[in-house]
Structure formats: C-alpha cells, structure tokens
C-alpha cells in the first residue's frame, strides 16, 4: 500500500523546504517539492532606484551571499549598456570564485556529509587505523594517530555530557550508513577543520568587500573597493599578498582534504550513482569572464544547454525561451490561465490556496509551493555544478575534462554515473576544484594591472539617472554555487518598473508545471529507495545533492 509522508523541515539546507512523498514497496513512487515561505522581494523592489537593487537582492540569501548582487548589477549594466573596468571584472571573478569554493565546502561537510557519515560510529574507530586511512588518501599534514585520538576524545567528552545539541535525534545507526568507523572519524575531524577553514578563506570577501556574509562592495558600473598600490585605504600590495595566501589555503584544502574525502566517501556509496537522476536536461548560463569584452564567447564555464542527457550535443542557450509557470505555485497571473511568462513580463501576485496552519499535508493536486516553475522551451531543467561541469566537459573545456575524467577513473565508473545523486555531489567537488585553482590566476592578472598603473574600478559615466534612457531593460546572469541565476529588470524614468529573478533553486525546487512535468527535485526522488519511512535518510541524500536554497528559490 502506498504511504504518503511529509518531511518538513528538510534541515541542513538554506530556507524552508518541505518534501511530500508517496512510498510504495520501499521506493518513492511520487514526490512533491514545496517551499513554505515567501517574502515578496520582487514586489518590494518596484519603484526603487535600480542602483540600490543589488543590496536588496543580495538579501535573497545569506548563504550564496554575493550572487544576487552580481546578477542584479549585471542586469542593470545590461539595460544601461555599461562596460565595467578590467579590475572590476577581476575582483568580481575572485569574489565569485571564492564564494563558490567556500559554499561548496560548507555544503559538503556541514550540510551534506551527515547523510553519509555516522558520527556515533566514529566513537568506535581506531585512531591508528584512521591515521593510516587518512595518509593513504592524502598528504594533508593533520593525519596522525594522536590527532585523530584527540578528535575522538573531544567527541566522546561531548557525547558524554548526554546533550548532543545539533546532533541529537538524527538517523544514527540507520542501515543506509555504509562507511567504516575510521572513515567516519576522519570525516568528523574534517567537519571541524572545515568549519575553521571556511571562516578563514572567506576573509577574502572582507578584504575586497568589507564583510561576509553580505559584502558591501558591488556597484552598478564596477566595484567600490579602490585599487591603489600607494594607499593604505585600497587594495595594495599588502592586501594582494593576504588574498594570495588565503587563496592558496583554499586551494590546498580543496586538493588535499575535500577531493580525497569526496572520493573516499563516494567509493562506499557507488550504488548512489544509479539513484536520483532527475530530469536529464541541464542549463548553464556560463560565467567567469576571461577578458573584458563583456561578451559571452570567452567564459571560463561556457554557456549552453544539454537535453535528454545527450552530451554529444551542447546547444546554444536562448534567454528568451525562459518562462515561469504558476499552475502549482501560490500565485496567479493577471492574464489568468496556465501559460508561462517570460521574466520581463513576469508577475509575482501571491494567491495562497493551501491549507490553513497547522496542517498535516498540502493539497498536492492544486497549488502547493511558493516556488514558481521555470521552464526552458517548456521543459524543466536542472541547474547547478553538475550542469556547469557537464556543459564544460561536453564543450571540451580542458580543465573540466581533466577533472571529470580523473574522478570517474578513480571511482571506476563511466560518464553515465554523473546523472545521479552521487554525480551531483561529485560534480560539486569538481566545480570547487576548478575554481579554487583558477582564482589565483585572476588575482595575478589584477596584480599585473596594478603594476601597470591601471587603477580604475568603477565606470561612472552612466552613474547618474539623468544619463539613462527613459526606458530600458536588461538581463543579468551568473553561475551561482547552485547554478544558473538570472535577474531581469525593466527600468522606467530612473526607477524599477519590473524586477524578476529566476534562481538556481527555483529551477531545481520548482513544482510540476501545467503539463504535469515534475520539477528536478521531484523527478530525482522518483525511484529513490527508502528503507524506513519513519527515517527517510535517503530523501535527504538526493535532495541535499542539489544543495537546496529556498530563500533563494522563492525570494
């Protein structure tokens, strides 16, 4: 007999996500993804100064904290045809690069790992064997027996207080946990190390943008952080050196801890390479400009789409084919009906039709989520590191090819394994590695510019609204940690006329569309095994593999 369950809150994500699933014969047979919180920021933006918008949109999310500033500013720059100085391009690349790197690391260790790692089992590990395991997978210096013994003692003392805090009441001992005790202990040690590491490397945002989360440094037309080797109030040699040091620290940890851990853990969960495939269509806007032309021909991660898992055929992306539907979302369009709308014509008119709280289940036949359903050519698309890496890989990007082939070879699986829960998690690691390695290059270019006396960070030609056309519209894109992010703005008389964002997690977490096509989360859950419907650990695995961010998705 089919049984419907609701997992709410889905924890270890950003925001408010609820999954309802129908389980039959130990497998998910149908699933519904819902976000249960709405703020209405697109509405709040109307009528405001377009130059202010990025401060508002940045607060879509405090996790991927820079990305909506980036997309917003690019939308305004696109509308007003503003070219940014080269230094601004490079500073943006560094900020975005390190954002992706840090965000991925936190996701892997602090949000996703506990789906695979059983902390309680770490207590029974042999520190000596743990050290041997750690040394066999990496050169990372923190790998002695004493070190792991220390970690284990600390965890034991903690567990000994009888108060497990955030680790209480979880699925410890669940039959789906497969790691040996030693691997669990190693992962726990790295959980703690990564917690330290993330706060250190993100200081790059503080240097370039005053603070993190929510750096305050982006501007329409460039950046607010000045560059001047002869000033102590600007990016100077001292700060370049500090950023360089932090970037190196970032890269080393990714190379020596994250990637080895990822591979070590993955090797015990290869069955997950056949679970959680999803819609099989991938969309990537591409990002990280390699030159200052402003064009999209020279992006480190190229733009493109892949339909039906066909890696042989990366197609060009046409932004105008994007629509959002609200058939199953708590909104209504002024035109009525089910037709999707392109974001320039987009509307955010809330219309709640769900049950009144407190409730048990949503009405999943009707509207059931605050997330809209974005479609490309009417098709649901998955976005994210997997899409990014697949498009780069299939387009022949050498770095992507090298990294992907290495991972596949180490795990002894073929490219088809990428279309899965495990593939998504692996692709995030590859994405992270590529950016951790590339960011130092942009810092070098910035240094070179400074050496040549190029100090410009902001193009203020069109700063004043009096220089703007009466009407303008623009599209701003960005490859955020969770994937393809688009902001669309319409400006009229110097003020925002309409503002719409279609966010990575909107693409992935969105509900069914008018045609009944499932969103990527929903579709990836179909077929996922669930050993114990009271402890749906497997749902968390597949959902977490997307790295959900619901504040982003709904905004």
């Amino acid at each position: 007999m089919a049984k419907k369950i609701a997992v709410d809150p889905i924890t270890r994500i950003e925001g408010h996500l609820r999954i309802e699933a129908q389980i039959e014969g130990g497998k998910i047979q149908n699933a519904w993804s819902s976000s249960t919180a709405f703020r209405g920021i697109e509405t709040i933006l109307k009528g405001r100064d377009p130059r202010d918008a990025h401060h508002f949109t940045q607060r879509f999310c405090g996790v991927c904290t820079t990305v909506h500033s980036m997309a917003s500013i690019r939308a305004v720059e696109d509308a007003l045809k503003i070219r940014i100085p080269d230094n601004a391009r490079l500073i943006r690349n560094i900020i975005m690069g390190i954002q992706n790197v840090q965000d991925h690391l936190i996701h892997f260790y602090h949000l996703h790992a506990l789906d695979w790692v059983d902390i309680v089992s770490a207590l029974s590990a042999d520190p000596k064997k743990t050290a041997a395991l750690a040394q066999s997978v990496s050169n990372w210096p923190l790998s002695s027996t004493t070190y792991f013994k220390g970690i284990q003692d600390r965890v034991k003392a903690f567990v000994g207080t009888g108060r497990l805090g955030p680790f209480a009441n979880a699925y410890w001992g669940h039959s789906a946990y497969k790691l040996p005790a030693e691997a669990n202990l190693m992962a726990v040690a790295h959980y703690l190390e990564a917690l330290e590491w993330q706060k250190d490397i993100i200081k790059i945002h503080a240097i370039l943008g005053s603070k993190n989360p929510h750096p305050q440094t982006f501007l329409v037309g460039g950046m607010a952080i000045p560059v001047d080797p002869n000033s102590q109030n600007a990016i100077n040699a001292d700060k370049i050196a500090l950023i360089g040091k932090l970037l190196k620290k970032a890269r080393t940890f990714v190379e020596q801890v994250y990637i080895p851990d990822l591979l070590a853990v993955a090797s015990f969960y290869k069955d997950w390479a056949a679970i959680g495939e999803g819609v099989g269509n991938y969309l990537c806007y591409g990002d990280f400009h390699m030159d200052n032309s402003g064009g999209i021909d020279n992006l480190y991660f190229p733009r493109g789409i892949i339909m039906g898992k066909d890696l042989a055929n990366v197609m060009a992306l046409d932004e105008s084919r994007i629509t959002e539907e609200v058939t199953h979302s708590w909104y209504e369009y002024s035109s009525g009906g089910d037709a999707g709308r392109h974001p320039y014509e987009g509307e955010t008119n809330p219309k709640y039709t769900g049950p009144q709280p407190p409730y048990e289940f949503l009405d999943t036949d009707g509207k059931y989520s605050w997330v809209k359903s974005p479609r490309y050519n009417g098709e649901p698309m998955e976005v994210g590191p997997l899409a990014r890496v697949l498009v780069a890989y299939a387009s022949g990007n050498a770095d992507a090819k090298g990294a992907v082939d290495f991972v596949l070879k180490t795990l002894g699986v073929g490219p088809a394994a990428l279309f899965s829960t495990l593939g998504r998690t692996a692709a995030r690691g590859i994405d992270c590695l590529m950016l951790a390695q590339k960011t130092e290059f942009w810092l070098q270019q910035l240094t070179d510019n400074m050496g040549r006396g190029i100090l410009e960070v902001h193009n203020s030609e069109k700063w004043e609204p009096s220089t703007w056309p009466k009407e303008a519209q623009g599209f701003g894109y960005h490859e955020a940690p969770r994937g393809a992010l688009g902001h669309w703005i319409r400006i009229e008389n110097g003020a925002i006329k309409n503002y719409q964002a279609v966010v990575p997690s909107t693409w992935n977490a969105g509900p069914r569309d008018a045609a009944g096509k499932l969103g990527p989360y929903e579709s990836a859950l179909i077929g996922t095994p669930v050993a114990d419907d009271q402890q749906p650990l497997e749902i968390l695995r597949t959902i977490h593999s997307f790295d959900p961010c619901l504040a982003c998705a709904v905004h």
Binding site: T11, R12, T36, I41, F60, A157, A170, K199, H205, H214
Partner: protein, 372 residues
C-alpha cells in the same frame, strides 16, 4: 608571541575550572583569552573574568533554540564566522544548540521532536534566538514550518524561553520583508509576540562578535544587557558609526570622496557624499569590524547603508544619496532640488505680484478712505 589583547593572570580564574576545560580539549591559553576578550567586549572590569569563567562551566551549557522565519540565513552564516570563540567551540563547548534547522542533523518530525524535548526540559531556562521576520497577514500562511505558522511557533518558542534574542534586522524590526509595501505583513519578534523579553541585535547580518558577547553577558549575570530606545544592547549599539569612524577627520576637514575609484576615494576620504549613512546609524562596526576585525563597509570604500537601523530599507534609501526622497516627488528630485524650486517659485510669484501691484490703479490715493 606578544599578544596585546592577552594580558591576563591565570590566578584570576580558579584552577579547577581551567583543568575542566583542558580535559575537554580547550587549552588554558584559549580559555583565558576567551574570558579576557569577553570582558573587554562587554566593557566589564577585568575582575569579572572569574565570574565569566564560572558562568561558562561545562554543565551550565545553556540550551539554545534557534528558529528561522522569513530570513536569508545570513545571520546563521555570520554566526558560523565566529572566531572568539569559534563556531565549533560554541557548538561543542559553550552552548547546547538543540534546534537550528541549518545545522542540525535530524530532519522532519525528528527535528521537531528534538525541539519539543528541549523546550519541555529547559522550559523558562533556554535562550530563544530568532532570525527573520514573522508574517502576520492572512493567518501567517506566508511562512510555515512543519505545517505550523511562524507566528504560532514564535509564540511557543519565545513564550517559554528565559530570554529571546532577535538576530538581524529582520527579526529585530521586520527588516527586508517589511520594506514598503510589506507584501506579507512582516513584523519583528517583539511586535509579533508582545510581552516577551526580546533583545534586538540588528545588523544585516548581525555582527557575531556582539552575539557571543551578549550570550556571555547573559550567562554571567543571568540577564540580558541594558538596551536603548530600540531594544538594542548599548554595549554594541551605543554610539554612531560616524563618531567612531576612521574617516571622521576627513569629514571634519571637509574632504569627501566624490566618485568611486577617484583620487579622494582611493585615499580614504569620507564617504558622506557617496551616501554614507554612518551619521544616522548606531553600531560598533568601526571598532569591532567583521571577519576577525579585518574590515567593515567604510574601510572597504562603500558607505554604510544603515543596516542596523529600524526600517533602513525605506529610510536609508536611496543608498547612494544622503537623504531620502521627498515624498510625492519623482526619483530624481533631491530635497535641494525641491527646495530650490520652491524658493524660486516664491520669488517668481512675488516678483510678478510686485510688477502687477506697481501697475495697479488707485493705489496712489494713499490717504485711503476705507473702501466700503
């Protein structure tokens, strides 16, 4: 190594406390340093070190229930950047964070059960931390968790807490969701749950150093620190940015960056003319700074946007202009344009009047009888 902040005699803290912490993997030095930084943050005399140390005793770990409503998780992320102590230390050694959706291992009904258990066991004793605003419109349907509304959850969680701390401007004052036209009827915790003791720690996001200091204050004295007119602790929000700003001498001199990336901007001149809201914002950003005291907005060349002030999304915008718009005039009309227009219109009107009355007939019979 010489460390200026660290000038503590070990004798100030009882030996057995130090030993207990050592047993739990926190070195003597780290613990002493922690106590000394805390005493300094809270502006307490160093004689309070011992008291702080006692308050931090292992089994005293207070239970914390951290709920997020209409937020962006920025305040959680800020918390994860804590340094003195680090987030790992806080989670393992200082607090018992029994519910926090972003961090906790349990999910779904097991997560809710953990919250319930902690609320019952530590009723009246735990600290509630709230991130994000609470939507009041339409029976709270704009934010539900585990099927219940944020409002109901806030009532339960804050109503049974020893104290509630609102982290970030959203939970303190409504913040971004409450910005005009406030589509969801979002309000602050103190508006949503009147009658409970709430301390506001605004900032978008809040500065985690202030949060740790406030919690330590609570542990040490059993109550939250003194607050100002807006419910913010004075130790962190007692002074304007402008009065502690490192660029203040440029302000007084009259040296203002006129343009981003321009010479004055590169030389660290005052950002007043680029819209800095430091003169109307109370926060300790210039002294405490962010990410281990590395920087803060003005230091990095962007004006303060007033992110710790109530309704700053409406009152401090446009962010790149000093003053808000004059209500009822277009987006490009500054107060000076409107004012100048008014003065000019007056001058024109009376000028015209002057000409007209000079031409007026009959005025000359100055010995005027009353007309009628």
């Amino acid at each position: 190594m010489h460390d200026p902040e660290f000038n503590v005699e070990e004798g100030q803290i009882p030996e057995e406390i130090l030993q207990k912490w050592e047993a739990r993997g926190v070195s003597r030095r780290d613990f002493l340093k922690f106590c000394s930084v805390m005493t300094a943050s809270l502006a307490l005399p160093s004689t309070f070190m011992g008291k702080i140390a006692e308050a931090m005793e292992a089994d005293n770990r207070p239970s914390v229930i951290w709920v997020e409503f209409q937020g962006c998780t920025g305040d959680t992320e800020a918390f994860l950047r804590s340094n003195q102590p680090t987030a790992a230390e806080i989670i393992l050694d200082y607090l018992s964070i029994d519910y926090h959706e972003t961090l906790m291992a349990a999910a779904g009904h097991q997560a809710e059960a953990a919250k319930q258990a902690s609320m019952e066991k530590y009723k009246g004793k735990y600290i509630a931390i709230v991130e994000g605003s609470i939507p009041m419109a339409e029976n709270g349907i704009y934010c539900t968790i585990a099927g219940d509304s944020a409002l109901n959850i806030a009532r339960k969680v804050c109503g049974n807490a020893a104290a509630t701390i609102a982290v970030g401007t959203c939970s303190s004052y409504g913040g971004l969701p409450a910005a005009d036209p406030n589509p969801t009827g979002a309000v602050s915790v103190s508006e949503a749950v009147p009658g409970v003791a709430v301390m506001n720690m605004p900032g978008c996001p809040l500065n985690t150093e202030n949060l740790t200091a406030a919690i330590v204050h609570f542990l040490t004295f059993g109550r939250l620190p003194a607050t100002d007119n807006f419910g913010r602790p004075k130790f962190a929000y007692g002074k304007r940015i402008h009065d502690n700003c490192e660029r203040r001498s440029h302000f007084d001199a009259g040296q203002y960056a006129e343009k981003f990336g321009g010479a004055g901007h590169r030389q660290g001149w005052c950002l007043y003319k680029l819209g800095c809201k430091g003169p109307e914002t109370y926060h300790n950003c210039p002294t405490v700074r962010y990410n281990e005291s590395l920087s803060w907005p003005v230091q990095a060349g962007h004006g303060c946007i007033g992110c710790s002030e109530p309704q700053f999304w409406d009152s401090m915008t446009p962010f790149y202009k000093r003053l808000p718009q004059v209500p009822g005039f277009g987006v490009e009309a500054t107060v000076d344009k409107v004012g100048l227009g008014l003065a000019a219109a007056t001058a024109v009107a009376f000028g015209a009047h002057g000409i007209a009355s000079a031409l007026r007939k009959g005025d000359d019979d100055s010995k005027g009888k009353k007309e009628d």
